[in-house]
Amino acid sequence: MAAIASVKVAEVREFSRIERIGTHSHIRGLGLDDALEPREVSQGMVGQLTARRAAGVVLEMIREGKIAGRAVLIAGQPGTGKTAIAMGMAQALGDNTPFTSMAGSEIYSLEMSKTEALTQAFRKSIGVRIKEETEIIEGEVVEVQIDRPATGTGAKVGKLTLKTTDMETVYDLGNKMIESLIKEKAQAGDVITIDKATGKISKLGRSFTRARDYDATGPQTRFVQCPEGELQKRKEVTHTVTLHEIDVINSRTQGFLALFSGDTGEIKSEVRDQINSKVAEWREEGKAEIVPGVLFIDEVHMLDMECFSFLNRALEDDMAPVLIMATNRGITKIRGTKYRSPHGIPIDLLDRMVIIATQPYEEKEMKQILKIRCEEEDAEMTEDALLVLTRLSLETSLRYAIQLITVANLIARKRKAMEIAVEDIKKAYTLFLDETRSTQYLKDIQDEFMFNEEDEPKSDVAMETS
């Protein structure tokens, strides 16, 4: 479509991404149509129709960006796609909405207090949109004329002729500009830009039409097209940065280094206050917009009582993001207390959220998921093998079945087969135990293991799965 030079959209930096295959790397979105109706199988998502529909509604809410400080809880048994739904939401939100994903246990660190870790996570999920605007003169150098005074010292004067495909013009040059032209070694045939505000000259490359000027050119010579349209252009770029990034830049003398070493340490509350008031000022002057993002806390039952009460308070802030949590616990003890509560979350916090429940997958859906995973892992599987694997996943768990794909694929390749057959699955099944068989095995021979205690309560073992 129209090449819009003056209203330039933030350029998408392209780089080839080497993605490893993760548990949820097949998820591309929530798989909803325009009316938010879930499609049976779409964008890597299978089944969970009501939960996905609900997530879609939440997504719309986030996109509107009007409400802050809402909380959503995704609850369901292990392996019912809670994280998948959260990932789908992140994908559907796109790059311009900040999405922070963390596990509940990440807040426990020796270097940082729990509330500091949570505050940072909150601030990572709030974006600030700002606009940069520069007036530039962009053109191909036709001629540079410099008059040097005969005495050798004193001010130089000169003329610079620039052109685009549409026009050509002459600029009078002062001493400063001449010096920076000389410094940049700009000569006829170069394409340059001059920043109007600062007078900074940068060389973009050499014009294609002058490509044959010399037989020998340096390897780093870049050839570009002669610019089109007007000479004096306005360049507008918008950026979305997170509050946390601004915090880090301002909190330390070494500034940005901390962003990469990961060692941000604790950020002083004065710094945060300063930034908050600066951002509020920008917002009032129409210079910035707040983009509330999403904070996803997986395994939220790992948070303790202090964190929950911090969340209660933090959600009331008008700059709070939308908080999405996931848990696989039923009625259990709240961490750090002896009280029991649904999902291991205090009732008062539960009261503030909307809860999305995920249902266990049915056989048909399991088969579909396994098929998608096969594609994701570049594993070919015969129809029979897939059926066997689906059966297996019903008896054991979906996660175990997914693990078997990789293993069976390796076994199949060892016998130089193109496809995974039933025998490969069987081999993999005998080689690797699932959780139930492992438990059974332990029960059978536990007398031979060390330090076993016969009458340890079983419930604790079951709680630590997933």
């Binding site: 819009i4 700002i130 606009k131 007007e230 990034e245």
Partner: protein, 129 residues
């Protein structure tokens, strides 16, 4: 989908795109005018004494007027052109928004903000390192 409706939509989209091209061309023409006016202004400033008279072409007629007066005229014109260009650029934004709307693409956000170039540049410099 309805054939008539589809056709209407395509027509509208094409018309909107055409309008963008027209505005773009107008901006280029205006910038050309700006550069030429600037050149004339510089030429008068460097070449002649303010009390001398200079030949100025207004439309198709050449008239000889005082240099200082000609300079004032050119200066005013420069200002007008500058303003007109920025008006056109704002119009362009509206048109692009309209076109994207017709194409069903998401709105480009943040372009209606006031610029904070200096701070933004520092922030982005730090972040991109």
């Amino acid at each position: 989908m309805d054939f008539e409706k589809t056709q209407q939509l395509i027509l509208q989209t094409e018309a909107a795109a055409q309008e963008i091209f027209i505005t773009r061309d107008e901006i280029v023409a205006l910038d050309f005018k700006r550069q030429k006016t600037r050149e004339a202004f510089r030429a008068l400033k460097n070449g002649l004494e303010p009390s001398e008279k200079a030949w100025v072409s207004i439309g198709n007629i050449f008239v000889k007027i005082r240099t200082s007066k000609a300079q004032n005229l050119l200066e005013r014109e420069l200002k007008e052109v500058d303003q007109e260009i920025s008006e056109h650029r704002n119009k362009l934004k509206e048109q692009v928004k309209h076109l994207r709307d017709l194409e069903g693409k998401p709105e480009l956000k943040g372009f209606d903000l006031k610029p904070i170039s200096k701070e933004a540049e520092i922030i982005m410099q730090v972040l991109s390192k």
